[in-house]
């Protein structure tokens, strides 16, 4: 027993004070070098609060993305259009609202418009919805990915694990075959995404068991079923017209996102995200195992349902406007874990922030690099894969 106590005491001194550790350097150099390096980086992080800086990242990128593009615009002018334009729109709305409420014509003052119609269109009709969409989709997918990785206790899980992407893909293909109307395609993608997850969960319930292993297996079953249905849809599609439309949809893109799309998908994505944010600490408990979580007083069944519903609504909403965008939901949570550690209290917000920033940058590249757009799903992997490979060589990965 004495030897055990000595051993643990010896370990304790390493982290205690500088003097103690220097004494240990002579005893055990390789171990200590890495330890003191870690200490140095810890002190740097204490002076530059990296965790706070991350939160500025999407704001900065938001403005840069607005004046960045094939139609080059002056940053200051862009900023003015954005601020004054939004103020004018707000005044317009208020005056209309007041007029209808009071029955009299109410005219609120508005700022003078010093820019042309084309700039107005570029900022408000083209770039703003696209930038917001990129942030919503990127942030949402990363958040859902991080939550699922916690729920399934597996860092290799992505938001597609329960079949939402396969379902949405088939839904979109069906929409393209049946009507081709963008609204029909989106609604169909959303509905089938939700249906796929509902079927997955239903299969889990049939076995009187909502254990996560059954869920994963059911997800594989449902995923392959919908993939087969998607192949069938492709097979019967017109090779000159609808087939390319299906293929392009599956590659993912934000090029056709409009303001009405944003208004439709922002509420579910934000609500789902809020829900996951609120239970962020409980995801810690889920991630140590179902029985332990129950012994700690967690109603695991209810929490699992809440998490799956919130993540699925987010993912289905994101996928229905963007198409299939892989990679983000898998990798961004890892980058988050490298920055702030495994604690979901920090990981949830940081994943959302990083995901929003990542997809924003990738989408900027997609729309500016070449004359014809590169599909987003291709670029996320092209940019993300080497970046992630680089990260893996640089820092300790956030799982055991």
């Amino acid at each position: 027993m004495g030897s055990v106590r000595e051993m643990t005491c010896g370990r304790e001194t390493i982290t205690e004070t500088g003097q103690e550790s220097r004494r240990n350097v002579t005893i055990n150099p390789p171990h200590l070098v890495s330890r003191s390096e870690a200490l140095i980086s810890e002190t740097i992080f204490r002076f530059i609060p990296l965790e706070r800086v991350i939160y500025l990242l999407p704001i900065v990128l938001f403005f840069i993305s607005l004046f960045f593009g094939r139609y080059m615009m002056d940053p200051v002018e862009t900023f003015r259009i954005l601020v004054i334009g939004s103020a004018n729109t707000f005044f317009d709305w208020t005056s209309t609202l007041l007029s209808t409420l009071s029955g009299h014509q109410v005219l609120l003052p508005s700022f003078e418009q010093t820019w042309g119609v084309s700039e107005q269109t570029v900022v408000f009709r083209i770039r703003l919805p696209r930038v917001i969409a990129a942030m919503l989709v990127g942030g949402g997918l990363s958040l859902a990915g991080a939550s699922f990785q916690g729920l399934f206790r597996n860092p290799l899980v992505s938001p597609d694990i329960l079949g939402v992407a396969a379902g949405a893909g088939f839904g979109a293909a069906l929409g393209i075959l049946v009507s081709g109307n963008p609204w029909v395609i989106q609604v169909s993608a959303f509905v089938f995404g939700i249906v796929a997850v509902a079927v997955t969960y239903g299969i889990g319930r049939v076995y009187h068991n909502s254990s996560t292993l059954i869920l994963v297996l059911a997800g594989i079953i449902v995923g392959s079923l919908f993939s087969a249905l998607l192949s069938l849809a492709k097979y019967v599609a017109d090779p000159y017209d609808t087939l390319p439309a299906i293929v392009f949809w599956l590659m993912g893109s934000l090029s056709s996102v409009s303001n009405t799309d944003i208004i439709a998908v922002a509420p579910p994505i934000l609500l789902g995200s809020l829900c996951l944010y609120l239970i962020r600490w409980r995801i810690n408990l889920l991630s140590v195992g179902e029985e332990e979580a129950q012994a700690l007083g967690l109603d695991t069944k209810r929490m699992t349902v809440v998490l799956i519903v919130a993540s699925t609504i987010i993912t289905a909403s994101a996928v229905c406007i963007s198409g299939i965008i892989g990679w983000v939901g898998l990798v961004v949570p890892h980058i988050g874990r490298m920055l702030v550690g495994p604690d979901f209290r920090k990981l949830i917000p940081v994943s959302a922030i990083l995901g929003a920033s990542f997809l924003l940058v990738v989408d900027d590249i997609a729309r500016t690099l070449t004359a014809t757009e590169i599909p987003l799903g291709i670029l996320t992997a092209l940019v993300g894969a080497p970046f992630f490979a680089y990260l893996l060589t640089q820092k300790k990965v956030g799982w055991a």
């Binding site: 643990t8 982290t15 600490w281 140590v288 129950q294 012994a295 007083g297 967690l298």
Partner: protein
């Protein structure tokens, strides 16, 4: 009585009984060791007491309340559970891990507050592992992680602590460390139920011992009365000598050599 198990029976499939008509009780500051061969249902019984599994018949009462009528977080406020060893996927720091023990005291949409951090630190200090606070659990040795698991259970501020084979997979030094910790917690007034594969440990720490075999408690009472050659043969199917060793000042259990005598010991 803190824990009262009355005529408990359980079955996974409704046909084959895992155990039946199991009754025992446990008071403040008492340690009960549960012995029995692998697969005899010790862990199942523990999960029933925690209300993770539901009894087929009988009752489990904690502080006079039936667990089957309590919500999960109400049970967790009374009962701390140390499972058989933990393999975490994510490298939580020991502090984050012990904080999880505060879950039954924190509302669903809330996160740990100052008070919860204090309670977690108290739990560390209580069993003397404050130096492990910032170490990731994935980098811990078996002994260290076992102690952190005990700290997490203590952060729940339970009146009953249940440990499932707390000394398995540990070296002999860490085994004694865990046993000493259990003894100290019992002195502080916590009721302790532990399952174990070491009758020796039952001699050291427990006030009473129960042997589960074939779905029933074949013996129950003070260690000296229960841990006998006959009972151990019935429970484990091998011959084990039970002797008093003066130098150690306690009873010990020594299995007879089951080998053919070609080993070095026979020479």
């Amino acid at each position: 009585m803190i824990l009262n198990v009355k005529h408990a029976s359980f079955s996974y499939d409704g046909l084959i009984k895992q155990f039946e008509d199991v009754s025992f009780s446990l008071g403040r500051g008492e340690v009960l060791s549960l012995l029995g061969r692998n697969g005899t249902g010790k862990s199942t019984l523990i999960k029933c007491i925690l209300n993770i599994l539901t009894l087929q018949s009988g009752d489990v009462e904690i502080n006079g309340r039936r667990v089957s009528e309590m919500r999960p977080n109400e049970v967790a406020r009374e009962v701390g559970y140390v499972p058989q060893g933990h393999r975490s996927v994510f490298p939580f720091s020991a502090l984050d891990f012990v904080l999880m023990g505060r879950a039954p005291h924190i509302s669903t949409f809330s996160v740990p507050k100052e008070e919860d951090y204090e309670k977690a630190e108290e739990a560390f200090a209580r069993i003397g592992i404050s130096h492990l606070r910032d170490k990731p659990i994935s980098e811990m040795s078996g002994g260290e992680s076992q102690m952190v698991m005990i700290a997490r259970a203590l952060a729940q501020q339970p009146s009953l602590l249940i440990l499932d084979e707390p000394t398995s997979h540990l070296d002999i030094g860490n085994q004694m460390k865990v046993i000493a910790t259990i003894d100290r917690l019992a002195v502080d007034g916590i009721a302790i139920l532990m399952s174990t594969h070491f009758p020796d440990h039952a001699f050291m720490v427990s006030h009473s011992v129960a042997i589960l075999e074939g779905g029933r408690l074949i013996a129950q009472g003070p260690a000296e009365d229960v841990i006998t050659k006959e009972n151990l043969r019935e429970a484990y199917g091998v011959d084990i000598c039970v002797h008093y060793i003066e130098e150690a000042d306690r009873m010990v259990c020594v299995p007879m050599n089951p080998c053919s005598g070609r080993g070095r010991g026979a020479a």
